[in-house]
Symmetry: C2
Subunit: 476 residues, 2 copies
């Protein structure tokens, strides 16, 4: 299968990779996807890495229900405003019409904070540091596999604290120590952390932080968010505790989530015209061994050697696949594993065996090398580390190369209209200016610096005096 | 908190353990539960063990949508008959009434087999060996935490095969190699495998297998099921493949599942009047260390020694908790950890330190022993293995002691009416006889032998000539 190229038609390339690499497909339930085994294995890898960080930072997993009584959703005004248009509603169950309809959770702040009102009495009960892995549903008019689906899979952390400071520390910690760390070290992505502007905040939040990643078409993807909810939900759901001074006080909240959207980000930041490129730390298979033979004699000889090599690699703890399928030719297999992004491919034929060597192909650079069979397996861990590092360096280099500090609004405008990447410059901080740029260019402010500092000079968009530096881009 | 005893009020005891051990609670969404961190950690342990077996037997995880278009559900006649009264239906979404309502999956055969019709063309595409971990919803009139809830958590395996034999081998394999194995080795349960009678089959199945476990009140719990679905779903959803002879043939199906119900089984087969007893292989904490002190000097000394011991235990790979909470007395902690079923408790006070010893209490037998501190940690892995073995032996002994081969229907009847356990005897195989026993005793046939053999003599229930041996019990 020939893929569309990224440069000619990026959306078609994306769709073709998702399909060709057997990651997911659309289902009969509109906007919902079937995540296929290879796609789900990638998500399980992300889950494992993220779950480890979530637990290592003192959080515990639990599970709240899928359904939220309608009246609960309505208590936090901004929140219901934001989510009401997107919810799916159960009106009938058990053969009868329900007295009160149930909302399929679009996110779980409402039912969780209502429950917390019964769990929290004293400062001794705080903090609550909880997380759940689950499915959520937000009705989606323009679904795109992984990026924007009606049902998606995620984790949502919901914590309650005795002080605003502690909650804000938590909010930032999860963004940096969990999300950014996993994205950089495991997914080998380049993500940029920062604050959202007020207009881009989570409904009901006092502050939203984000990690933003630049895709290869120059558009940004919001890859994870962490919110400081202040006392908004505590007030709406009456979560009060007796503080150390004996006074009743509302608790302070955070919530934070990453979703299957990250799989989309992985595809679009690392992928090339041949398909996926998976970082070794995450790849379901790190090495694939493809035997090459024509005659039966060759078959026996090559499969034996390939089996031995596969065993050696597995013994080193590497996730290895011996592709001994007989109904496909080697060339077909090479293409397929490139499309699926397996970091290393070993090609092994009878002439290689005669010369006691094998051909090794790196997916990241497409470099092809002939290597002695002797300690081939032993050389792979270092090689995989190098691939992991290279993918990350390429991602950083791409983002840097597609970041512009425009010297005029005209320059910024044409850069953003062409989806050139991140435009960085001083901003006045006004919502109407932000809206004007969006109208002119379809670009939004993706983030403000994580450590907010005053900016000097005129706003790059409107010329008024700036208060902070902002990063704009068109986005998914 | 004093628990009700098992013998005076088993249901009250169960509820008190679920609440007291902080496993789960009812939520505002009727019939749905909030699974609390300790309960969820137990479920995560079950998931990990089961997932390992599922993958080791060649299956891959994937994910199908939560929603099933209503018309899809209606295609397999028996299946829709069985599930239609229990489904929750989404009629509105995105602010509008849907043209076609969506069912929240009660199980996923329908959408999966409809999808398989597009995945399967040739015998080369078979078998499909897939599994998903997810939530499902069956509207429940009489919910009980873990045992029977509107939303519950499970895995559902769905496989497609080219021959009936292969599918039947798969059905049995998952029951025995995954479910029975994990229940026995990890959960230390006694489960008895067998076939369901026709009247107890899964809607749409040609044969249902089950593992049944006897609870401490003499009632049985269906702890997992594995179904051979024949070609029923292939015909309903048109899943045909070209066989090796070039002819079009319908594929053969299995499905199999275990759920959060297993947590209920664990509580009710191992628990005693003091609460949960968790098998070490599954326990979130295998060892808890409780320091005892009064003065500040003692506090420093004891906490230091307790910390050292905890470190030694963790270094051995044991899941250990140092309970250094200062707002609870040791006696309170002893009760709490007994209620939570932690396999081993270490009590360490200043006098123990003087004597270079510690008090070790086993949760399974409640034996209390004073042991030298010297190689205390080193002795624990063997001790935990012994606890694991003992819990399993106790479970088997209990089931054996509560299994009766009645010599008359009168004896069987009074045994079953008193929830005495499993009654085993020859059965005529007739559904009306089965129904009569149910009417007389509220007991059902829990299973027929896994290897069906002819039985001789008269049916223990009706006196007609028997064809098979059956096992009756009252059940959850």
């Amino acid at each position: 299968m020939a893929l569309p190229t990224q440069s000619t038609n990026f959306p078609a390339w994306y769709q073709a990779v998702v399909k060709g690499a057997d990651l997911a497909e659309n289902s009969l339930a509109r906007g919902c996807m079937v995540v296929k085994p290879y796609g789900w294995a990638i998500w399980e890898g992300i889950q494992a890495a993220m779950d480890e960080r979530i637990k290592a930072t003192g959080h515990q997993n639990l599970q709240f229900p899928l359904f939220i009584p309608y009246r609960l959703l309505e208590r936090e005004a901004e929140h219901v405003e934001g989510f009401k248009p997107e919810v799916a509603v159960v009106t009938h169950a058990g053969g009868e019409e329900l007295e009160e309809p149930l909302v399929v959770r679009p996110t779980s702040e409402t039912i969780i904070w209502d429950t917390y009102s019964r769990w929290v009495q004293s400062w001794r009960d705080l903090p609550l540091l909880y997380n759940q892995w689950c499915n959520v549903v937000r009705w989606e008019m323009h679904p795109r596999l992984f990026l924007r689906t009606t049902e998606f899979y995620w984790q949502e952390g919901h914590t309650a604290h005795a002080t605003a400071d502690e909650a804000m520390t938590e909010q930032r910690r999860m963004l940096v120590e969990a999300y950014q760390d996993v994205c950089e070290r495991v997914l080998a992505l380049d993500v940029r952390p920062g604050h959202k502007t007020e207009s881009e905040r989570f409904p009901g939040a006092d502050d939203s932080m984000t990690i933003e990643a630049l895709m290869r078409d120059g558009k940004a993807l919001q890859a994870g968010t962490s919110h400081y909810l202040g006392q908004n939900f505590a007030k709406a759901y009456n979560v009060r505790f007796q503080n150390r001074e004996g006074e009743l006080e509302y608790a302070y909240a955070t919530s934070w989530g990453v979703s299957t959207r990250l799989v989309g980000g992985l595809i679009m930041q690392h992928g090339d015209d041949r398909g996926l490129r998976l970082p070794p730390a995450l790849a379901p298979y790190q090495v694939v061994v493809v035997p090459i033979f024509r005659t039966d004699d060759e078959r026996v000889r090559v499969l034996e050697a390939a089996g031995r090599l596969t065993g050696d690699l597995a013994a080193l703890g590497l996730r290895t696949r011996l592709d001994d399928r007989e109904d496909h030719r080697p060339g077909f297999k090479f293409n397929e594993w490139e499309l699926k992004g397996v970091p290393l491919r070993v090609e092994l034929g009878p002439r290689d065996l005669d010369a006691e060597q094998a051909v090794v192909v790196r997916r990241d650079t497409l470099e092809k090398a002939t290597k002695p069979l002797g300690d081939l397996a032993g050389s792979f861990p270092a090689l995989l580390e190098d691939i992991q590092r290279t993918l990350r360096e390429q991602a950083v280099a791409f983002t840097d190369a597609h970041t512009l500090r425009p010297s005029s609004y005209e320059e910024m405008r044409s850069f953003l209209e062409a989806s050139g990447g991140f435009a960085v410059g001083p901003w006045c901080g006004r919502a109407d200016c932000e809206a004007q740029v969006k109208e002119d260019t379809k670009a939004t402010i993706r983030f403000l610096p994580l450590d907010l500092e005053d900016a000097a000079g005129p706003c790059v968009a409107c010329g008024d005096s700036a208060i902070v530096e902002a990063t704009w881009a068109r986005a998914y």
